[in-house]
Symmetry: none
Subunit: 413 residues, 2 copies
Amino acid sequence: MSDTRTALLLVMDGVGDRLLPDRGNRTPLQIASTPNFDTLARQGQSALMNVIGPGITPGSDAAHLALFGYDPVETYPGRGPLEALGAGLDSKPGSVAFRSNFATVDDDFVVVDRRAGREFTEEEHAALQAAIDGMVIDDVKVHFVATVEHRGALVLEGPGLYADISEVDPHETGKRVLISKPLRPDAKKTADVVNKLMRQVHLKLRDLPINKDRVDRGLPPANAILVRGAGRHEEVASLEEKYHIRSAVIAGGALYIGTAKFVGMEHVTVEGQTGTIDTNFDNIAQKTIECVNSGYNYVFVHIKATDNASHDGNTDEKILAIERTDTMLGKIIDAVSDKIVIAVTGDHSTPLSTREHACDPVPIVFWSDFIRPDDVERFSEIDAAGGALHTIRGLDVMPLLLGYSGYIEKFGA
Amino acid sequence: MSDTRTALLLVMDGVGDRLLPDRGNRTPLQIASTPNFDTLARQGQSALMNVIGPGITPGSDAAHLALFGYDPVETYPGRGPLEALGAGLDSKPGSVAFRSNFATVDDDFVVVDRRAGREFTEEEHAALQAAIDGMVIDDVKVHFVATVEHRGALVLEGPGLYADISEVDPHETGKRVLISKPLRPDAKKTADVVNKLMRQVHLKLRDLPINKDRVDRGLPPANAILVRGAGRHEEVASLEEKYHIRSAVIAGGALYIGTAKFVGMEHVTVEGQTGTIDTNFDNIAQKTIECVNSGYNYVFVHIKATDNASHDGNTDEKILAIERTDTMLGKIIDAVSDKIVIAVTGDHSTPLSTREHACDPVPIVFWSDFIRPDDVERFSEIDAAGGALHTIRGLDVMPLLLGYSGYIEKFGA
């Protein structure tokens, strides 16, 4: 195509909110000083967005699938595969993936500590990972990675695996690890493999030197794992297959990286990027500019700090996270404004008053130096209601971004 | 879920209207004094709503199915089953139901009076009902109830029944009762049963003592029934199955009660509730408050008076009905504002100028003490166009109401 731009999707996780009675009945977006977002709003087109659908409270992973142009009702694989991909495991179509905890069990397989003390050294992570990764149960290969603290991700790779199995995690101490059962007949093999895995992992971990050391130091041994969030990785057409674009994800959280990789984005790492308010916004801006200049057709930038502050009920930190993201975006625009089409939005609302995801729609603004303006002057949940795009769904974002960026072919002649 | 509200849907039947040139080019909603609706509009979010779809004139029953979250294109069972349920008959999936008239026929089965004089005493109703209810035609059981004047509802219960049959009612006097024909092959049995039913009911009714009395008093005998509006009752998932909620209907008209019962609502009776302007608005308010306080998760309140006035072309009465409903809602809000999420709307427009249902969208406002406000200040067809929800469909109402009320689970993690 003749004139293409890089489509830039900037998502502030959980940014949508409700009126704060103790702050003049305004939302955090209304309170925050956001000169760059407001310039986009003034020059671009705003909307309110039901990310999944009216009244539906989005989970972050399903919400991002929608924002990437994938109907979550049809394509959501469960959290396991997305976390596994985000943790760097190579989950493939047909595999069944899980989130995992290191745990402490007694000789009767009763859970003593669901997190095995929570704290692990790098050496301990490495030893535990080496013991589990590469195991083979019948004809199923086990891939495992230890991630943060007691957490990890696990992938079962082999023929005939399905995710419809009951939980092994009793979710309480003092109870035995549960026997997984198939929830439909063809998942029997998977349940059997998971049950064998629980036992065999226990036998391998309990005699590890690092666990003897932990016991010597008065720490609970990581002598078992508890897996949960089973999901079967179903094949979806990648963004490249759908749109012939090269796409990148810049994110600090494993779930967002994993969801982006699930649809075929390349993970571009940024030094100092985390999921918190202390993430390195300057480096994110710099890397985004590099991606635009190096020919990526689509760049997804995810900021998690807004959601963390919301879940903590921390109004000041939410406002600060918004303002730092605004400053970051200003740097990107200064550098590459004539090469991009931008959408700025959230994946869902997380009201400070409830500290949980909510169904309230989020504002979104589309901007490029050629997109027609509307009457909206500020980027907020209240102002966006007057936008030219009215109400859209998450699934509309990708076509709008890629349409304006020049990557969607004319329909008809 | 932790924090839930009662979802309250208030429908004024046929409330939508057009500009009245003889009343300063305003609609009845604009003319009426509605301080409570206007408070909701000022504090909540408005929309215009195409109840079924743009340009589609809704029937009341199909409109309500949509408002209850059921796609009428897929689930509308025809008027018969809804009227039958509303009349108190126990229509079941697989049954075929009809609306029914008492009629007068001569010995050649020619219709002499399609309403058999229209007026009946309670004793006559009871005798006629007893004669028909419980009849058996082949392997089909007949359920029948006499309702108001010459009207009744009839249910055929048995295997292999379908509603695709031609009419028996010639809709004119001086013509013979028609022979019902199957409109598709598998409805042949149903047409045969209906034809036998017409004959056998005639034979049973013509010799009833109450009919001899009617003839003695110079009244036409009810010696036949004419059934119409055939519909097959197809099973739908109830509101409880879909959303795990306990729901109630507060309505005066059989069709609305029947449509609500079709989706699983419990009918809560209110002393003095009718379908007219003289309905007891105070008692409706009181019962609604009781339903909220006694733990119903969803309450549907239906006011019919607005539609009656519209069909009569009675502007003053339509305005009065709106104002009385507004006062009624004020009482509900005063009592339980912190326990509810409200939507106020109509099921369709019935312009006073045409006295018939029309495709013009209706206004709707959503309110709770936490829903974000928009710029709308009045509840009307004209003001609602500026609402933050823009244009919605009837099918969006249930997800929005239940989403804000806390009854829809998060999608994804």
